[in-house]
Structures are given as C-alpha cells and as structure tokens.
Amino acid sequence: MNQAEQTNITWLFEITPKNKFFSLNLKEVWQYRDLLVLFVKRDVVTVYKQTVLGPLWYLIQPLFTSITFTIIFNNLAGIDTGTVPPFLFNLAGITVWNYFTACLNGTSNTFGANAGIFGKVYFPRIIVPISIVISNLIKFGIQFLIFIAFYIFYYLKGATVGLNGSVVFFPFLIVLMGVLGLGLGMFISSLVTKYRDFSNLIGFGVQLLMYLSAVMYPMVLIKEKLPSYGWLVQYNPLAYIIETTRYMLLEVGQISIWGLGYTFLVTVIVFFVGVLIFNKTEKNFIDTV
C-alpha cells in the first residue's frame, strides 16, 4: 500500500496503549446513554424482584436505623438535638449519609463486580459508576419521601420544625454528595483491581467515617465536648454536608460558608483524581483484576 492510498482513509478511532491524561469521554457516554438508562433501571428494579415488600425495603432500613440511633444516642447517651425531635434529626442525617455510602460502596466495586462484562465487551466504563450514582439518587428520592412524611407528621403535632430559606440549594448539596461518593468510589475501585487490601479497608472504613461525619450529633457538640478530636470532624467535608442538610431542612445547627467552600474544593479535587485514576485503570484492569 502506498502513501497516497493511506491518506484517503479516515479512521473513526484508534486504540493506543494509553489514554489521554484526563478525559470524561462525554461524547461516548452520550452515545451510550440508552445503556446508562437501562443500567439504572436494572439496578432499581432487580433489587425488589421476588420480594413481597418490594420497594418498601428502601424505606425500612433508614427508618429502623433512625429509631435505633434515637434510642441509643438521644435517649441513652443524651445527645441534645435542641427543639427538633431527635428522630427527625437522625432521619435527616441518615438519609443523606446513606446516599453517600451507597454511592461509595457501589462505585468502589465497579471493576470487581463487573469484571465479567468488562472482560467481554467494550463500552465507556464510566457508565457503570455513573449509573450507580443515579440509581442511588432514585433510592434516595424514595427515602426522602419518608422523611417528608415524618416531617409533616411532626409539624402537625406541633413540633418546632421549619425550613430555612436556603433549602432551595438542597439539590446542589445532594449533587455534591453524589459527586464526592462517585469520585472517592472511582478512586478506590481503581486501586482495588490490583490491591485487594482496599476492599477490606472500605468495609469498616465507611462505618468509622460515619462517626466522624456528624450524622448523629450536631457539629457544635463535638467541639464542645471533645475539643482535641474536634478537628477530625472539622476537616471532614461530609460533616459539612450533613450539618448543612439539617440546617436547611430543620433549621438546626449552623451553616458555614468556609466549610461549604472547603467541601466543594475537596469534592472537585477528589472527583478529578478519581476520574484520572479510573481512566488509567480501565484500559488494563482486566489483566490484574
């Protein structure tokens, strides 16, 4: 074949040993949008196939966790939640926290759980973690409904609960939480492909992290009672998201612009690093998984 002929060919794409340094591949993700939708549908629908209670299972878990937390942390340990009913206080924190852990746990296992599919066919790998974040958003939506129901219930009972005006920004907060879980999950999923140590770490790490994320106590409390450990919570971006959630929905606690800015920055960095490592891993992970 001579040179003149070669120039006539327009190549659609090329496979090379390495990916670009940073690429979200949005064009390709868009081509596969139907797959994304189907993955989300699969994740949401198959969970309650062949169960009697069906989607009710989504509600049972946060409800019982909140009840347990209320009994142990509020009734037994005596954590003060101010004028807000402790149950509602816990439910708000747990619902948002659950969204984060579901995203993190789901995405951090991307390569492991899908090795079978990934080993046989190509599609933009990032579709899977994105679909997990979206399907969990739907689950979060369902769980949030129960929160609203109890909110109204307590309101009618005359408890002093009130929305803060900043609640209009609540969706942004959830997006932030999702992106943080996605970024961290992609980061960990990439490491797990080669070094399984990380999957052990994530198991109990997430549980410990909950105690540092102000899920069952207001942020002020830890600064008051444990000033020497308070910085652990203060540098945890998740704590700000949960604290702000309660501020927006229940007008309890405080909002910190510095804290939110810090959280935003950390989220962007984590997401960036996550995508970077994910990109690097997706090309060859099948050889090491």
Binding site: M1, E5, N8, I9, T10, W11, L12, F13, E14, I15, T16, P17, K18, Y32, D34, L35, V37, L38, F39, R42, V45, T46, K49, Q50, G116, I117, F118, G119, K120, V121, Y122, F123, K194, Y195, K283, N284, I286, D287, T288
Partner: protein
Amino acid sequence: MKKDIILKAENISKQYRLGQVGTGTLSHDFNRWWHQIRGKENPYLKIGDANDRSTKGESDYVWALQDINFEVERGEILGIIGKNGAGKSTLLKILSRVTAPTTGSIKFGGRVASLLEVGTGFNGEMTGRENIYLNGAILGMTKKEITSKIDEIIDFSGCERYIDTPVKRYSSGMYVRLAFAVAAFLEPDILIVDEVLAVGDAEFQKKAIGKMQAISRTGGRTVLFVSHNMAAVKSLCTRGILLENGKIKDINNINTIISNYLLLNADSSAEWKRETETDSQLFFDRIYVSNSNSKITNQIASGEDFTINIFLNALNSISNSTVSIKFVNAEGIAVFTTSLHDYDNDFEVVEKGKYKLITNISKNILTPGSYNLVIACFVSRIKLFDIVEDKISINIEDLGIKKRDLDREGFVVPNYKWDFLKLE
C-alpha cells in the same frame, strides 16, 4: 485496485506478568513509576520471553503478543487460528478494546461490536425482553435500533413463548439462542466473534453461521472470527491469520492457513521413531511416509502415489491383532481408515519378531490439504497395543490437476472418466 482498509493493526504487543500479585508487584510498580516521572522507558518492556507455554522461561514477564501487523479489508471475513495459548484471545481482547496493547496501535474505520461471549450482562431476574434491551445496549445498540428489530430478534431466537419470563427460568439452550439472536442483529461495520458458535444444537449452529455469512455478504460488513472449529472457519472465512507463540506465522487465504495450522499442530513430520520405552507386547519402532520416488517426505503431490512404511515389533506371539491407519483432515474429520485386514491378509497370529508393513496409497484419492495420520495396532474391541497420533502428517499439494476448481467440496477427488457426447 484500491484496497478499502477498515482495520489496521500496527506493531501490537502485549506483555503479561506471570505469577501472583503481591508485595513484589508493588516494588515493580514503583520502579516503573520512578522511570516514568524521569521520562525514561518502562524498564520491564525490554525483558520478557516469547509466549511458549510449555517451556520454563527466564523472566517473570511474557509477551502474549509480539509485533502483530495486519490489515483487514471491508467486507472480508478474517479467521484467526492458532494453538491454545498462541495469543488468539489476547488479540481479540485488544481488538475489542477490553484491554489495551502494551505497545502499538489499532485504527478502525467503522463501528466495532465484539462478541466474545453471548449473553454478556444478561440478568437472570429480568425477562427475555428486558434482557434483549440490556444486552443490545451493552453491545452498542441504541434503544431505537433494538425496538425496531425486537420482533425479528424474538423470532430468530425461537423463544417467543418465554419472552416475558425471567431468563433464569430458561433452559441453557434457550438462553443461548436468545443471546445469539441479539448479537445476530447487531449492525456494526466490524464484528469480532470468538468461539461462540460452539454452543447450541447443530441446527442452531448452522443458522448462526448462515447469519454471519449473510452479514458479511449482503451488509458488506467485516467479520473477524476466532475458532478451533476448522470446519466453521473454512466455511466462513476468506482469509486467515495463523498465530504461533504470540507472533503471526502466516497471513494467507484460508485453505493455506488451515493446512499450515495442521502442520503446526503437534510436532508432526514425515517420520517418527520410538524414543521412549514401552511395556506393550506389540509396538511400533518407526513409521515414515515416502513419495513415489521413495524419498522420505510428507509433501505429496496430488497426482502421485505415496507409501506409508511401518516397522512393527512383537515381543510375544499375539493373535487376532491388526494395524490400521486413519486419515484425519484439517477439520478433524476422519476421511477414511485403512487396515491390514482389508486386503485378504491372514494376520491371525503375529509371531514374535520384527516386521515391516508397507501400504501404498494410490493417487487421486485425497483432496489437497493436510492430513494427520493416526496409526494403531490393536485387537479389535479388546486391546489397544500401540497408537501413534499427531506425530505424522502429510500435505497433499495441488499440482495443477484440480487447480481449476481449488475450492471443490468433498473429501475425495477420484479421477473418473466422463463421456462427453454431443446429441444435437
């Protein structure tokens, strides 16, 4: 004539690390990273053995593929064959973007879909219909495309009755049929197919091969096909690539490739001598093939007689034993078997001693191609004394006699005289 190249692979290599992932890996990773940030080449790329499964290598790194270069034209069905571990699957994985090559690049001039397995991503809890959508989307179809073809897909699969039942209730055959039906309606420019045809019943295999031929012929689509089933490769492919130990041994038309593959298969040659001891009472010492000039060779012209010479050794007197030679063609099909008893030989008792058996195979019997010889001595249905398999092969070369129709079908080419009478 200008070639319409749709896929071009340049210098693809793939290196694998052997052994387990452990602490040693971390130090290699670190070393690699340290070289990378100083702008130096990956130190582990310089080493690595050729991919030969059976020998013990020097290094922990192995080249599963090395310097692979080829081009595929639009509309071509390319077969990729080779022994186990020759690098076929690795090449397919790279072509279908499952894993990246260590070096080199592949350029595509069209949409690619790969079928390394049927039913990838099938979810047992979901119904047949839901799975068609899911699997189709995984293979790269859009929802619209699938919707427009769903009736055809269901019809092709023959699972209409069960289509709204979860696939975990399907029989394995139905599962495969449904899965293949989805794949069959893929419309990529390039289709990459692994040995997925090995599943399903004979009728379905035939249907699948027919569908794939139709894809290429009418749709002008390109198919890359990997299989151990030489009959399927031969009926489907036009050109082939033969891989050996991670390198391209030959790229040629499919008949030549299959012949070469057979010669490669086992270290067969024109002559075999016993090297290891046997405790059998009756065994072969030496076997060789010679042509009409009594020269030891396995390259036989299609128009010449050839001889198979067998040296037999009996340690005891053995009754009712016989010797047979089976000719197995490139597709693994036994074309015929000839036996010592066929031609009025009274071989009732073999006395202790050494013998030579000479079989003359007349010309114009075997079609050009490669044949493996299986030579055995046994007492029918009672005892197998000795068998020599994959050691001796012959290659019948076409020397112009049947050249006008090289692709003639059938196992034998007897030379019959035809009367050609003009009536009007």
